[in-house]
């Protein structure tokens, strides 16, 4: 597989949100606006790249029976590092995403990539895989966020183009499911061509 396709497969063929359908909890919960979706995607990408790199390095020396606990410790460490850094330098972002940052530990995408890719491949390839899947996840969340923000609040990235409210349902939980469902249909229809 070429280096370039390692990155692009995360966008289309193995898009974590619309094709693999992994990590649905943060996807549904944090995409109330485009900015929140983008920030959540970037936070996940940070952890994903670092954990992919470290796991690909240590995979050969980790005994088979304890590989899951070891991976989880590695992932949890990076999530905590991220959490501390965000609290220190971007407290506002940390406040909006709050609970969903520690929950990155149990995000299936990260352990999924560790299991499916990083423990079988080299450091460089694993880093690229992390970047690719990370970008795919970030873009998906941002797109869902944009759609929900346009319909729900009448704005894009906080810039309001109608006065008053949008369709409130889209900011709340049911809207997340509806938008995700339709985008998944659209994505898979376009991707098939």
């Amino acid at each position: 597989m070429s280096k370039f396709s390692l990155i692009t497969k995360g966008l289309l063929k193995e898009n974590p949100t619309f094709v693999l359908v992994l990590g649905m909890c943060p996807t549904l919960a944090t995409t109330t606006s485009a900015m929140n979706g983008l920030e959540m995607g970037l936070a996940t990408m940070f952890v994903l790249i670092l954990s992919n790199i470290v796991i690909s390095l240590i995979a050969p020396i980790v005994p088979d029976k304890v590989h899951i606990p070891v991976y989880i410790v590695v992932i949890a460490t990076f999530v905590t590092v991220l959490q501390l850094l965000m609290q220190a330098y971007v407290p506002d972002v940390y406040k909006t995403l709050g609970l969903f940052i520690p929950l990155i530990v149990v995000n299936c995408i990260i352990l999924g990539r560790a299991e499916a890719f990083a423990n079988k491949n080299g450091v460089w390839d694993s880093a690229l895989d992390g970047i690719g899947i990370g970008i795919g996840f970030t873009l998906s969340l941002t797109v869902i966020g944009i759609v929900r923000e346009i319909l729900g609040s009448g704005s894009v990235f906080g810039w309001k183009f109608i006065s008053g409210d949008g369709m409130l349902a889209f900011v709340m939980a049911p809207g997340a499911f509806i938008v995700l469902g339709y985008l998944m249909v659209l994505f898979n229809k376009l991707a098939k061509k």
């Binding site: 070891v70 590695v74 460490t77 850094l85 079988k120 609040s153 709340m172």
Partner: protein, 185 residues
């Protein structure tokens, strides 16, 4: 691929990984400790300053036994006179606790209010966080009866969010009560 599992190498591997991770976390914790405290302090200061008149120095946080009061700060002018109180107060809203910072003058007049945290419905009760809204503007200098108009008071509720408005009003009332009781001491 993965190494063969034996009791010794499993224990050694887990111990090693945990040690390295703990060391890394300890390092990051030390590095970020100062900025985190500074950010939290700056946020607390900003929320207090927002609800009080300008000038004067702000005390350390006092605690109170009164219902719904999380703590309060006293603002004193240069000659030692108390000019205002900032009260951190909490009530039950529609979706969970609503925590406010309320600035109250010594005579019981509300100076300004701000929302510290809430979990009200987006687009309805959550409108209580919109700074320039009519609901929020009415609190500046408010000294009428502290209940919503529907209940016979002087507070204009947010349309379709009476429960949130009631909670907000109750929180402000708690703060005013506290300041009045402090004045009698």
């Amino acid at each position: 691929m993965a190494a063969k599992s034996s009791l010794i190498n499993m224990a050694a591997c887990l111990t090693g990984v945990c040690l390295v991770c703990a060391a890394l976390l300890g390092f990051v914790y030390v590095v970020t400790d100062e900025p985190i405290k500074a950010a939290a302090a700056a946020e607390a200061q900003a929320s207090i300053a927002k609800v009080l008149p300008e000038g004067g120095s702000i005390s350390e946080e006092f605690s109170s036994e009164a219902e719904g009061i999380l703590g309060y700060f006293v603002q004193t002018s240069a000659d030692g006179e108390t000019t205002a109180y900032a009260v951190k107060t909490v009530t039950g809203g529609f979706g969970g606790p609503v925590t406010l910072m309320v600035g109250v003058l010594p005579d019981g007049t509300v100076f300004n209010t701000s929302v510290l945290s809430h979990s009200e419905t987006p687009g309805l009760g959550a409108k209580c966080t919109e700074e320039k809204s009519a609901f929020r503007e009415q609190w500046k200098g408010f000294k009428g009866v502290l209940s919503v108009k529907k209940d016979g008071g002087d507070v204009d509720a947010i349309t379709a969010s009476t429960i949130t408005s009631r909670a907000y009003t109750k929180a402000v009332a708690q703060a005013v009560e506290l300041v009045k009781s402090l004045g009698h001491e």
